[in-house]
Amino acid sequence: MRAFAQLLEALAFSPGRDARIRHLVGYFTHTPDPDRGYALAALCGALDLGRARPAVLRAMVAQRVDMELFKLSYDFVGDLAETIALIWPEPAKGDIRQITVHEVVETLEAASKPQAAAHIASWLDQLAAPERLALLKLATGGMRVGVSARLARLALARMGTVDVSEIEEIWHGLVPPYQPLFAWLQGGERPAQAALSPFRPVMLSTPVTPEELQNLDPEDYAAEWKWDGIRVQAVAEGDVRRLYSRTGDDISQAFPDVIEAMTFTGALDGELLIRHEAQVANFAALQKRLGRKKPGAKLLKEAPAALRAYDILTWQGEDLRALPFRDRRARLEAAAHSFGPRIDLSPLLPFDDWAQLAHLRADPPDRVIEGVMLKRYDSVYRGGRARGPWFKWKRDPLVVDAVLLYAQRGHGKRSGFYSDFTFAVWDGPPPDGPLVPVGKAYSGFSDEELRKLDHFVRHHTRERFGPVRSLVPKLVVEVAFEGLNRSPRHKSGVAMRFPRISRIRWDKPADEADHLHALKALLPPEM
């Protein structure tokens, strides 16, 4: 438990993705089986150990500590598990024991709720403070250290010398504590594919510019719309149906409506969309579904999910990935006759030259289209992001001129630099406004521009709050973003997708920044 506690501690404070991966690699390399495997499962949310509810924990601590002192402490610390870990009476030296992650996991999995509470209290009596916190996080099922299953797989890939897509491919056939996986990563045999309806590594595209297109022959490429949904792989083989995200996470439970529609035998690559009859809803509607692990009947009715297929990987037991796109497309179109109403085809776009395609891209028939995809007719289906066979040509981003309002210090390579910016638009006539924040941006600027922005922040600070400074509302930046959604959580009522600073408008007075009503005009119509 000590190494696991140290890992959680390190992850809780490491801001950078690379540093987090390194902490994970270090832990997986130096921790024996089966502890590392159970830790991996816990981090990925693959364990169901949520045995201890907050009320149970409070009752537990009330038997050891004055509740008035507990309450004062909790107010100060702000986190229940952390407060309990810190306030729990320190065990006498002789009572401290090494408790392994697998002991905890295996005991809790077999325990009833009251038994679990008794086990937890008894372990707390034998652990030092950092390990008490790790235990409580494990027992409540709330790791919240920002490790996704994807990040964990990247760490595993780096621990061995295999590509992450190879791990993704067999991931769903693996179960905690993953001994065969670790054995493989440390030089042993690759575990056999044990999953039913397994995930296949997804073929990805790279961006392309109009200039680069001039060197390509339009005849070599098929074009499709690029849909603004989420990329999924729908696999129905044997009696098992699964829906995977593009990084191989199993999202079947969240989309029972799509699972129900998968009456075929095969593996399809496509876009998950919210669709009422022929009407596709915007990304915000899909986001409501993405947030729910198990949607209720009302939500399923309000936001019915559907699959729009654009590739076929297997069909009735035959692996089609080695066929060129042209042949796969023909097989997909033939297969489509057997699809029910919740699965349809993404159409191919007829075009003769790039100018014609540019025209289509500029004026798509649906708001849920975010550009066009280009796929070489002769490309085989190969997981990963090779440059050449598939391109994405996204529509131009939306832009808004906004005023910088807050800046926060960055981490790692950006230590000491104010690199995270909150920007605002006018919600009333300038200069009295007010300015209302509409988003945050961390990217889009060069190192040179970062230095200049940092210099600006230091010379136009109004107030400081720890690592954050509020700024004199003076500097206008052009913010590029991919779309706009309604958001009741934001004061402005809008939320941007992928905002970044596309240009710094040193020349533009703040009074000439955009207004909120102009931004709101970009919102999709309400459903």
């Binding site: 270090g26 407060t83 810190l86 981490h411 390579k413 000491g416 630099f417």
Partner: protein
């Protein structure tokens, strides 16, 4: 039972029988000072009495003319007005003392800030039975149990091993904490040069003058190219320097912070810290409550910090306690 020898006034704690203040936050005619931290030791008093080291530290910080006349206090009792006064170690920072006031058949102690953990930079806290004990309450919540500082230093060195290409910049206050971290590193066998920010130079030099070994220290006031070359080096700076352009000279540094507050995750995150080191110069909850039991006063006064929790503890223990709510002592610095 006679009345306490001290009372609370607008300028701070005042002893009427001796006509002096202790750690006043306004200029006064006669001040007794427990230790050199800026919120306790201010410039501008006419007469200052403090330990010789505290007087030196005040002169370093404020210039030789920080007061008109000064007087060294120590273990031997000195008559001041109608009371006698002596200074005994508080274990907080170099020169830190509790001030013992005796007269009218009673003994009152103002402890200033104090710690019970061994610290090579200063003498250990001496518990002395008294009638009134005035205590700080900086970490007076039962969640504060400071770990062994050697373990925190081990974590720092483990991080240096794990990220050998990154400089580790440790935020540490200039008086006490910075030297403490250096001493702990040396005790852990770390013998490479340690780089220090310019703001730490004078007080590190003073510790050396006082015979406290700190090993080789180098200036961290470096050009960009030199700073970028300091891969895996340990650099100490005052936390206030985190917000300055000085940090930008280092290539992808690990930002660490040595403070008792680092025990609370939300605190560490708020300060943008990547490596929190729980190293404190104050008593934690067990040491604070143990100290009160040891000196066993008739009454406890609480100067600043989390007095609510300490009041609750006193209530549970059947002890008489009173919060002073003294404004002006810093909450954050530690």
């Amino acid at each position: 039972m006679k009345k306490p020898l001290i009372e609370l006034t607008e300028a701070g704690i005042y002893c009427r029988a001796g006509d002096f203040y202790i750690d006043p936050h306004k200029p006064v005619a006669r001040a007794l000072v427990t230790h050199g931290h800026a919120d306790h030791a201010r410039a501008g008093h006419s007469h200052v009495m403090a330990s010789p080291q505290t007087l030196d530290i005040m002169a370093i910080r404020y210039g030789e003319d920080f007061c008109v006349t000064q007087q060294a206090g120590g273990r031997d009792s000195v008559q001041v007005g109608d009371v006698s006064v002596r200074f005994i170690p508080a274990g907080h920072v170099l020169g830190s003392c509790q001030i013992v006031i005796e007269g009218q058949g009673r003994r009152d102690i103002v402890s200033g800030d104090y710690s019970r953990v061994a610290n090579a930079a200063c003498a250990a806290f001496e518990p002395m039975p008294c009638d009134l004990f005035v205590t700080e309450a900086t970490f007076a919540l039962p969640v504060f149990r400071h770990p062994d500082p050697a373990g925190e230093i081990a974590q720092l060195l483990a991080s240096v091993d794990a990220f050998p290409e990154r400089a580790h910049i440790i935020g540490a206050y200039a008086l006490g904490k910075a030297q403490r971290v250096i001493i702990l590193l040396r005790q852990a066998g770390y013998d490479a040069p340690i780089y220090i920010h310019g703001a730490l130079q004078k007080l590190c030099d003073y510790h050396k003058d006082q015979g406290i070994a700190l090993g080789e220290l180098r200036s961290a006031s470096l050009e960009r190219a030199q700073a970028r070359a300091l891969r895996g080096a340990i650099v100490l700076s005052p936390p206030s320097a985190f917000g300055t352009a000085w940090v930008q000279r280092f290539a992808e540094p690990v930002i660490a912070f040595a403070s008792g507050w680092m025990q609370i995750r939300a605190h560490a995150r708020r300060r943008g810290v990547e490596l929190p080191l729980v190293i404190s110069d104050h008593v934690d909850w067990p040491d604070l409550t143990r100290t009160i039991e040891e000196v066993d006063p008739q009454e406890v006064w609480i100067t600043h910090g989390r007095e609510e929790a300490l009041m609750r503890w006193a209530e549970l223990e059947g002890r008489k306690a009173r919060p002073l709510h003294i404004a002006g002592y810093d909450e954050e610095p530690e």
